[in-house]
């Protein structure tokens, strides 16, 4: 399931941050996004995931193909690990959470309420959710935050397994995951401030 | 010149007074806000082109 991004311009708070982005993510491939903090990586991921409309250009991918995971894991403290995972399995209509538990070594924590997990364990549970979605294209925003070295390796293995099954991943991260993935530095795509054309587009630009 | 308002004089006058005051305040505030916004814009535009 290829994900193609054509001539994409994205904005944050009405101001364009990145423009002219073009890349394709073929099945079995991963793409690492690099760039200084605040350049717009998160905004880019949210736009590709469809949470935010792009200003220009388009994101082409099949329906129901994108699984998005951001800083906050969306876990419910009062629900146990298995309840959390079962919930997401039901939402995405996939069966069984066993491979997710194995993939992130959560079997020992199955019945523990998510609120009682450590930050690393919560992160692993958040990422395990990806395995439950059954979606080919993963879009991950700084997935290895608060993960220790062992967990990072575990996460890299999970991504490799996902890629080998024909899935793809777009990851914004500073850590070298040891994946054979191309790297896209979004720095050069920073939106150049437009001259006060007064021309009309749906942006604050129209007020410049 | 003042028309004979009869016993309802104060009613009519107070209604007119309140309404006119409200209208005047609205217009005055709008003009003040417009001037303030225009001045601020000119200050920034001055800085940008200057």
């Amino acid at each position: 399931m290829t994900l193609t991004v054509k001539n994409l311009t994205i904005s944050r708070g009405g101001i364009p941050v990145l423009e002219g982005l073009n890349f394709t993510l073929a099945p079995g491939k991963a793409l690492i996004l690099r760039g200084p903090n605040g350049v717009g990586k998160t905004t880019l991921l949210r736009t590709v995931a469809g949470l935010q409309p792009p200003v220009e250009g388009d994101v082409i991918c099949g329906p129901e193909t994108i699984a998005y995971a951001a800083h906050s894991d969306g876990l419910k403290g009062t629900l146990s690990v298995s309840e959390n995972l079962h919930f997401w399995a039901d939402i995405f209509g996939t069966k069984g959470i066993q491979n997710a538990l194995d993939g992130f070594d959560l079997n020992s924590l199955v019945d523990r309420p998510a609120g009682a997990l450590s930050a690393g364990q919560k992160r692993r549970l958040g990422l395990a959710r990806l395995l439950v979605t059954g979606r080919p294209v993963w879009i991950l925003d700084e997935p290895t935050v608060s993960l220790d070295v062992a967990s990072v390796a575990m996460f890299a293995d999970a991504v490799r397994a996902h890629l080998s099954e024909g899935g793809s991943a777009l990851i914004a991260t500073h850590i070298d995951l040891g994946l054979d993935a191309e790297v896209l530095d979004v720095g050069p795509f920073r939106a150049k401030p437009r001259s006060g054309t007064g021309g009309f587009d749906g942006l604050d630009e129209s007020f410049l | 010149m003042m028309p004979d308002l009869g016993k309802y004089g104060d009613t009519v006058l107070s209604a007119y007074a309140v309404s006119i005051v409200l209208l005047v305040i609205m217009v005055a505030l709008s003009i003040r806000a417009s001037r303030k916004a225009r001045a601020e814009l000119q200050k920034i535009e001055g800085r940008r082109n200057g």
Binding site: L51, I91, R129 | -
Partner: protein, 218 residues
Amino acid sequence: MIALLIRDMKLAMRAGGGFGLGLSFFLIVTVLVPFGVGPESTLLAKIAPGILWLGALLACLLSLDRIFALDWEDGSLDLLATSPLPMEGVVTVKATAHWLTTGLPLCLASPLFGLLLSLPAEGYQWLVASLVLGTPALSVIGTFGAALTVGLKRGGLLMSLLVLPLYVPTLIFGAEVARRGAEGLATTTPLLMLAGITAGTIALLPFASALVLRVNLR
């Protein structure tokens, strides 16, 4: 969709705050009324339907900001937005969860509170009927208000200001059904209007709430 409803109900049960909040507020309001207006039962009987309806309405209003706030803070709203569930579905499930945790208990408990305010005997069934028909609308309209103010810091007060005017038609017809029922008059017209408003709200408002939620998720 059912999974989301079951999860929300579980959360409400586990957190414990879900059921008790609305009911206890309704109880307090009902108990305070006689202190305010005096204990004579004739007076209380006359204003009982209106007061009970106002209590139910305010109890609903009270628990609205928790509908999206929890999911907003821990990021599940983003994840739900990228799930196969349509936002309209998510919003309707949230409204149903709110009704089950707040609206329904109010309807069931209202006869008890009717006693406190010496509601006339024939008023009870109409009170419950009007609440059962009206509270779903309160939940759906409330969910719209919650979606409007989900991202704001002190959104609670603003939400009440936005939602209360929208509650007026439901309150008028609901209280009217209860009042006419208590006085033994025919209640068909207000009942039909109440049902009509609730049906219309349930059918149309989720689209506005979903649109607003998507805007807030940007």
